[in-house]
């Protein structure tokens, strides 16, 4: 009760007020905080495309038949192949792929049509530039699908013995932006929140204002919370900017509950801010703070499952990923936004993130000393 009565007089309030006034006058930081989400979204959203569409394709049609033209049409309609040229011979085909003017080729031999007519299997060849396995995988599977689709149409009569239908759930178009954009929220928060908090304390130390502040009776918790909480606001503004832009530019769905997402983000934001604060107790200058933040960013991008699936990583890399708050937040983000799931499914991640947040805040308050040594 006495604690409650003291609440209005805590040094936390003047500290919060001071931070907000400073933040409002620091146009540069404020602009960066709001500009970075937009820039990152454009960079990552447009650049990271693991689904390869519209592969420039050349066609060598030696059959010159209605059936060969039909097959080319099927390929074209798949959306993965853009027929850029018809070539007269294999030498031209090879040259175009070697120079990179084409990444795929469809070769239809002279007896293609005749074979089909006689009830034999018509053989055609698809060549894909697979130097980049990620880029070619979609083309390879799409070519196979197009081929068997056409084959089914031709054999026609009678139901097929086996009909395996693949349904890609949650992201039926298999568009990578849908997968990447929710991740950007997490990566962006990791970067900016850790960076600004780690710099905020060090900046006070460098300017000499920290010395004046810690010689007052302000308690450590008020100082640390007063420093952290204004950036909570910035975190939420950043989430909102990306959600709105992601929806407008990349048609990223929001299937689950937004209030739930904002609530669960709290644990991640607090964990990131506390981590930044912890870093500020380890570094001596703003430059060091920046370097440490970027060092921290790298494993977050590579090992959290932001771009590369964690299931494909060797075990030690998975362990490192499991130690990053972002890994859990990504599951929450994608779960709520893309799958529309709620706390019933996401409670383990929520629990881990809350643990991170509480642990890191306590640790940073303990590590923070009111001395200048």
């Amino acid at each position: 009760m006495s604690w409650l009565r003291r609440l209005p007089d805590l040094p936390l309030w003047p500290m919060l007020w001071k931070e907000l006034v400073e933040l409002r006058r620091d146009r540069m930081t404020l602009g960066l905080m709001l500009g970075i989400p937009a820039i990152q979204l454009a960079l990552f959203g447009y650049a990271i495309q693991t689904d390869v569409r519209h592969l420039p394709t050349v066609v060598l049609d030696e059959s010159h038949s209605s059936e060969s033209r039909r097959l080319v049409e099927v390929f074209r309609n798949s959306g993965n192949f853009d027929v850029v040229r018809y070539v007269p011979d294999r030498a031209t085909l090879r040259r175009l792929i070697e120079t990179g003017q084409a990444n795929a080729a469809l070769v239809i031999p002279p007896d293609f049509f005749r074979d089909i007519r006689r009830g034999r299997t018509g053989e055609a060849q698809v060549i894909v530039d697979a130097a980049d396995p990620l880029a070619s995988a979609a083309a390879l599977s799409s070519a196979q699908l197009a081929g068997s689709a056409r084959a089914l149409e031709l054999t026609g009569a009678g139901p097929p013995a086996l009909d395996l239908r693949v349904r890609p759930w949650y992201n039926p178009g298999l568009r990578s932006a849908v997968y990447i954009v929710p991740g950007i929220i997490g990566v962006l928060l990791s970067l900016t929140l850790v960076l600004i908090t780690s710099m905020a304390i060090v900046r006070e130390r460098e300017r000499g204002t920290l010395e004046q502040l810690i010689v007052t009776p302000i308690d450590k918790t008020s100082l640390v919370l007063g420093k952290i909480l204004p950036f909570l606001l910035i975190g939420y503004v950043q989430i909102s900017v990306i959600l709105v832009l992601g929806r407008l530019l990349f048609r990223v769905p929001i299937l689950g509950s937004l209030p739930l997402l904002y609530l669960l983000s709290l644990a991640f934001i607090v964990a990131s801010l506390a981590l930044g604060l912890l870093m500020s107790t380890l570094v001596r200058s703003q430059v060091q703070a920046m370097q440490l933040s970027f060092l921290f960013l790298l494993p977050n991008i590579l090992l959290s499952g932001f771009v590369f699936p964690r299931q494909a990583m060797p075990e030690p890399a998975q362990w490192v990923g499991a130690a990053l708050p972002l890994t859990y937040f990504l599951t929450i983000l994608r779960g709520v936004l893309l799958k529309g799931v709620g706390l019933g499914e996401l409670w383990p991640e929520t629990l881990v993130l809350t643990g991170f947040a509480v642990g890191l805040v306590v640790l940073s308050v303990v590590r923070f000393h009111k001395t200048i040594e």
Partner: protein
Amino acid sequence: MSEPAWTDAVVAEHLRKTFGTLVAVDDITMTIARGEVFGFLGPNGSGKTTTIRMLCGLMTPSGGTATVVGYDVRRDAERIRRRIGYMSQKFGLYDDLTVMENMRFYASIYGLHGAARRARLAELVAELGLGDRVDQLAGTLSGGWKQRLALACAVAHRPAMLFLDEPTAGVDPASRRIFWQRIHALAGQGTTILVTTHYMDEAEQCGRLAFLSRGHLIAVGTVPEILAQFHQPTIEDVFIELQRRDEGAVV
């Protein structure tokens, strides 16, 4: 817990501070009486700032003991902080806040609220002549005004003791005079003041002086006592003589 009774504002015994192999302060024993204006003199690097920082609880002593306004600097740093004011060498206030915002912030941190805070801030503005500048950003103030603002923030809570580390370095003579008038006014109200300075005219305004050299306290006394002890006509001559000995010792 009741307030401890104290007659001496500072009691330091064998105070020592080392940074690795460097001995910054060595075996300082001194007493500062309540209400005294006590001057700390000595060349750069002689240990003045480190001693003040230990007394304010900003640094933990490596050896020895010290009490400030009746409290132990190791055990009761937070209680000491409620009762002291501090001005560091470097301007330690917020450039992006206005004069009034800085004052209001520090007054609130020291626990002043509502009508009491308003009254105290008005009083400080009047005392330090800050009236025309309350809405100016602190970062745009000139040196002399910054020091006045820093003093206002340091005394907002009417501290029993004030630590001033080179408060008038780089300040014009007119501002220095106003600043010292305030210091004497505060001392007149019973505030104990520990001040470091390189200006000899300021040193001569102190009740007692302490000379530090390479971490050691080498002389303490009133101005006449110091002059007699070193057989010099002015404090400035004492200072130069001590610095000469100091450098001689190094050679």
